[in-house]
């Protein structure tokens, strides 16, 4: 290798390495800040108690209402997004495999849906609520978040499915499999890691979004017991507490952020664990 190539190689190695590690550093910095700022307020009461009177002015209580509300909304919305998104992604890659133009148009539209700001989804959900005469409720939040995250499930899963070689598809059909068998027994299994990534991305986006639940799920200090009751969410709990003039309450906002981060981490690890078990079960 001549001198010029060595310099070029080193520069690009440094730049790409710098980009990668700075990203990790920023992520680590965010997590550290959240933990440092929220650590003092982090207590068992935060996760097992609902806000008592004067909680937002430094009174006693916790954010159990928001934890339950967030989990309800995120799980409910992710469930709906999987129900719609998984067959949609398989349909694009199995039934529409001959029709490249239709495939590309659908992908373009889904990308556009992915790019719409969540506040717009919130406004849309709010309009729907008014149309059906509903109040701010758990179900309205679930539906709005489901609308927000379904394009994520479809496009992420679709991206992985589209990389499956045509030869595997042909080999499966050549055995006499129907398209449904090909989709669910082969393509789904082949793209399973992408499916898990899609679900986790969607879940993370769903549980962390504040704008779309602001008008639709509402906010309450109570734990929602029914779908037509309003529900608090962690991002809104963080938002409300962070705007407080009382330093103690602002610290609690960071503690709530820690809880949100830990929930996402636990869900992510659990999903990866079950994904491994599922992959192993395909071999038995």
């Amino acid at each position: 290798m001549n001198r010029r190539k060595i310099i070029e190689e080193n520069i690009f190695k440094f730049l790409s390495g710098f980009a990668t590690y700075s990203l990790i550093a920023i992520l680590a910095f965010i997590i550290i800040i959240i933990f440092v700022k929220g650590f003092n307020s982090l207590s068992i009461d935060m996760v097992i108690k609902t806000p008592k009177g004067g909680y937002y002015y430094g009174g006693e209580g916790g954010v159990l209402n928001a934890i339950i509300g967030s989990l309800d909304i995120a799980f409910g919305a992710t469930f709906i997004a999987i129900l719609i998104g998984m067959p949609a992604a398989l349909y694009i890659n199995v039934h529409l495999i001959r029709y490249k133009r239709i495939q590309n148009t659908i992908r373009y539209l889904l990308d556009a849906l992915w790019g719409i700001p969540s506040i717009v989804y919130g406004a849309f959900g709010f309009t729907l609520m008014l149309f059906f005469g509903m109040n701010a409720s758990l179900i309205a939040g679930i539906i709005t978040i489901a609308l927000l995250i379904t394009p994520i499930v479809v496009r992420t899963f679709d991206e992985v499915l589209s990389t499956i070689p045509m030869g595997l598809y042909e080999a499966t059909l050549a055995l006499g499999s129907t398209k449904t068998e090909t989709a669910f027994k082969i393509m789904f299994k082949q793209g399973f890691s992408g499916f898990i990534t899609a679900v986790l991305l969607a879940f993370g986006r769903g549980i962390g979004d504040a704008a779309s639940v602001l008008f639709t799920a509402g906010y309450t200090d109570l734990i929602p017991l029914y779908l037509d009751e309003p529900a608090a969410t962690l991002p809104l709990a963080i938002f409300f507490q962070l705007g407080s003039p009382i330093p103690e309450v602002r610290e609690r906002a960071f503690a709530a952020a820690v809880i949100l981060t830990i929930i996402i981490l636990i869900i992510s690890l659990t999903a990866r664990y079950f994904s491994k078990i599922y992959s192993k079960s395909n071999l038995k």
């Binding site: 495999i97 001959r98 029709y99 490249k100 070689p165 045509m166 030869g167 595997l168 598809y169 042909e170 080999a171 499966t172 059909l173 050549a174 055995l175 006499g176 499999s177 129907t178 068998e181 027994k185 082969i186 299994k189 082949q190 399973f192 395909n282 071999l283 038995k284």
Partner: protein, 275 residues
């Protein structure tokens, strides 16, 4: 019974001279009439007329891009997957015109096993790969599936190599073993025909030899159509040869006659280059 026997004998005696005069002709398992394939303005296959004999190895020989693979894909209707391809003509498989039939496409496809250039094992265990084909035929009995998995893996000479790791991923096998696994999976749907599209092109010489030997053994029970551009492989395996060039059949016939006395300049050239 005696009367019937006598009547049969009488009929036999009456028709005996005819039978001895006529040579025994097996009807072709595949008959292709005026097959044309277009992709836009490009005429990929031009007026293909061909008969494939049962239980023989028919080699589709020719340079890359001459339409061999397209012809193979017409047979199991994989051309349906490509909107740009327009297929016309008739393909009779056991008297059934598959291009103009109302029959279910998967049923037609199960008459043929496909072996492609690269092995494409399914993303399930070695055992399940073969069991998948068996289950497609409606078999649900666990013991029968296990019996058949072993039978087909033995048929392709893979059983001894994989019997202790049946529940491993097929990606743990070598490419040659994966190709044989795909063959076993194909045999499990009980096809009558094996379509092989340059099945040894990605294999080492030893694995290629194993596949070639398998074909020689399998032709007793299956009709094999092998696409290749390797002249030596065609010489080694073919009973019948179809030489194609730019979408046309230039020459066809029995392997020995064709290679001994090529009638066209193109085949002569190809043989010269191939040697």
């Amino acid at each position: 019974m005696k009367i019937m026997h006598l009547q049969n004998n009488e009929t036999m005696t009456e028709q005996a001279p005819d039978i001895t005069l006529k040579p025994k002709v097996t009807p072709p398992i595949i008959k292709i009439n005026n097959l044309n394939v277009h992709a836009g303005q490009h005429h990929i296959l031009k007026n293909i007329n061909l008969e494939i004999t049962k239980n023989k190895i028919t080699v589709l020989l020719g340079p890359s891009g001459c339409g061999k693979t397209t012809l193979l894909k017409c047979l199991n209707k994989l051309t349906d997957l490509y909107t740009e391809l327009r297929v016309s003509g008739k393909i009779f498989i056991e008297e059934d015109d598959i291009l103009n039939t109302q029959k279910n496409v998967p049923v037609i496809r199960q008459k043929m096993g496909l072996l492609s250039q690269l092995p494409y094992p399914l993303p399930i265990s070695i055992f399940k790969n073969v069991a998948y084909g068996i289950k497609l035929k409606g078999v649900r009995d666990k013991k029968l599936i296990e019996y058949n998995v072993e039978k087909y893996l033995r048929e392709v000479g893979l059983w001894n190599e994989v019997k202790d790791r049946l529940h491993n991923s097929p990606t743990s096998l070598s490419i040659g073993q994966q190709q044989r696994l795909c063959l076993a999976r194909g045999l499990a749907v009980k096809p009558r025909i094996i379509l092989a599209d340059e099945p040894t092109s990605s294999l080492d010489p030893i694995s290629s030899k194993i596949i070639e030997n398998l074909f020689r053994k399998l032709k007793k029970n299956y009709t094999i159509i092998l696409v290749t551009h390797i002249l030596r492989q065609a010489v080694r395996l073919a009973d019948n040869v179809v030489f194609m060039y730019y979408g046309e059949i230039i020459e066809q016939g029995h392997s020995k006659d064709l290679f001994k006395n090529p009638k066209t300049e193109k085949l002569r050239e190809y043989m010269l280059e191939g040697n």
